[in-house]
Amino acid sequence: MFKQLIKNKSALTSLIILAVLYLLVIFAPFFAPYSYDEDDVLYANAPPAKIRIFSLKNKQFTPFVYAQKFTINNYYQRVYYEDTSQIFPIRFFHKGSRYKFLFIASDRHFFGVRNGKIFIFGADYRGRDLFSRILYGGRISLSVGIIASLISLSFGLLIGGIAGYFGGKIDNLLMRFCEIMMITPAFYLMLALRASFPPSIDSTQAYFLIVVILSFIGWASIARIIRGMSLSLRENEFVYAAKACGLNHFQIIMRHILPFTFSYALVAFVLSIPAYIGGEAALSLLGLGIQEPQASWGNLLSGAMGIVNIRLFPWILIPGVFILVAVACFYILGDVLRDALDPKRKIL
């Protein structure tokens, strides 16, 4: 299975991209030059800094950026320009602000500049580095998908397994409940669930709330399919043999029924992650998810809601690109995985 993934070029590419993304995001404090809430009013809405390779004039032969200064125009808006007299060489493994990662406290950052600021993706309205915020936000956006997907998958497996295994009234009851979940439009369900909790909660609570809300949406469709599988799996003679041996229902479901749905579950898992990433983004975009100053890709995009902002500061759309890339990668991966695990398409 893994070999087939590696063989497929698009799958390999998305696997690598995702690996890089997760690496960046997990080690965000190290890769980000600043922390997610470090602001500087002097750089409000500063555009992405242009990284120069060398400058003969300043006798600078390592990558560097010019200092960003601004003037006020007739509309009382800041207009940033590069001050070519002042250069900040990019320093790798630069000593910057202190952070704690797991149990290691450090002040080394992957890159940074001394005595100035570097915004490779620009800054937001409070002068916070967008790149740093994207990395920190990715921690939420990329983990929410996996965790919510895991929860909804285990929920779906359990409900589907029980419904299919027992059949009859239990099956009927559980499946009607699933159908009710499925016919409710997912987005409204999400909003309704969110509305049932207090509007202002702190970020950790919001995070768990989002995970729960998201995982509440997807389990029904998984459960339906697992139910169908377990309905046919329970007629296997080894299931009857296990019953005759005196194993209880739970053991039989866990050991002799659900493991056979593994390949489907794996595909469903990978394919549902992007939907949850999108769901989190949508909630946060509406201000119902992760709250400022905490970042997530969704609430970073909320700055891009006004057309004026997009015209003046187009770089605030960059988090959207990250969402797009991550979602696309997961879909490609899931698609290839499905083909790889499809028993009817072994050849090729």
């Binding site: 080894f238 043999a241 296990a242 041996c245 005196g246 194993l247």
Partner: protein, 300 residues
């Protein structure tokens, strides 16, 4: 002494709004320590009877008594699990392909014995030796073994908690003739060693003749004839039994098992010697000592 008796056992299934009477008032008894044969064509309810005894189907009417305890009640299920085991027809399907032989056997062993895996190793090895397999099979997966070996594993699994009754649901039907006869010999040996009672379900009359002592003939969810093997094989009474024995030697005519009007003899539509009285339910009749038949030709 009867180890298991069923009384007026009825199991109905609804299929496409039609009621299918899989078992329609079945009375059987199993003598302790002996092999009882249950013969009949496919779809006559043999397997349903086995599954009902094991508690997989709940009867609509009637009871199953194991040593005078009603095991058709849910509360007595533990008694079934401890005392009654089953070996299925297809050994390839009756073992979980993802489990090694050790895990399969240990799983069954663990239900009644709180033993650690390491402690169980020797017990499981002994069980395998009992069914004439090497203990090295424990680390194998089902797909690495042959059909005969797998059926021995299934027998070992059935044997592991020392049940007093094993239901053999066509255990040799998916095996070749030589392997089948080896399995039959093994089963006879185990019976002699442990005094286990067998309910041997098969449509192979030759094998049944070899292994059984008491014979039941089933047709369309009903017992039509039963008695000691010698009497029944020597002198089959019921028209259906005769046809079955003829079919074993020649070719069987196609005979769908139809639902007849309630109360009538199930074999009535195909019976050569049927008369108007056959529209009533036939009563049990002891034609010779211990040899019973449900047929109007004899109860007249």
């Amino acid at each position: 002494m009867n180890i298991l008796t069923t009384h007026n056992l009825k199991v109905y299934f609804s299929q496409h709004r039609r009621l299918v009477k899989a078992l329609d008032g079945v009375d059987i008894f199993l003598r302790e320590g002996l092999t009882t044969a249950l013969a009949g064509e496919s779809g006559c309810g043999k397997t349903t009877l086995a599954r009902t005894i094991l508690g997989f189907n709940s009867p609509r009417e009637g009871n199953v008594y194991f040593r005078n305890t009603d095991i058709s009640l849910k509360k007595n299920e533990a008694l079934i699990r401890k005392n009654i085991q089953i070996v299925f027809q297809n050994p390839f399907l009756s073992l979980d392909p993802r489990f090694t032989i050790f895990s399969t056997l240990y799983e069954a062993f663990h239900v009644f014995h709180d033993a650690k895996k390491r402690e169980a190793q020797s017990v499981l090895g002994q069980i395998l030796e009992e069914v004439e397999l090497k203990a090295s099979c424990l680390s194998r997966f089902p797909h690495q073994l042959s059909g005969g070996e797998l059926q021995r594993i299934c027998i070992a699994r059935a044997l592991i908690n020392r049940p007093s009754l094993i239901i053999l649901d066509e255990p040799t039907s998916s095996l070749d003739v030589t392997t089948a006869s080896k399995i039959i010999r093994l089963l006879a040996k185990l019976q002699a060693a442990h005094g286990i009672t067998y309910l041997f379900i098969s449509h192979n009359l030759k094998i049944l003749k070899k292994i059984s002592q008491v014979c039941f003939i089933m047709y369309a969810g009903k017992i039509v004839e039963y008695g000691p093997k010698e009497l029944l094989y020597h002198n089959p009474l019921h028209p259906y039994t005769r046809l079955l024995f003829e079919a074993a030697n020649h070719t069987l005519k196609f005979m769908p098992q139809e639902q007849v009007s309630p109360g009538a003899c199930a074999f009535f539509p195909y019976c050569k010697s049927a008369s108007d009285t056959c529209k009533d339910s036939p009563q049990k009749k002891e034609v010779e000592p211990r040899h019973f038949v449900y047929c109007h030709n004899f109860s007249r």
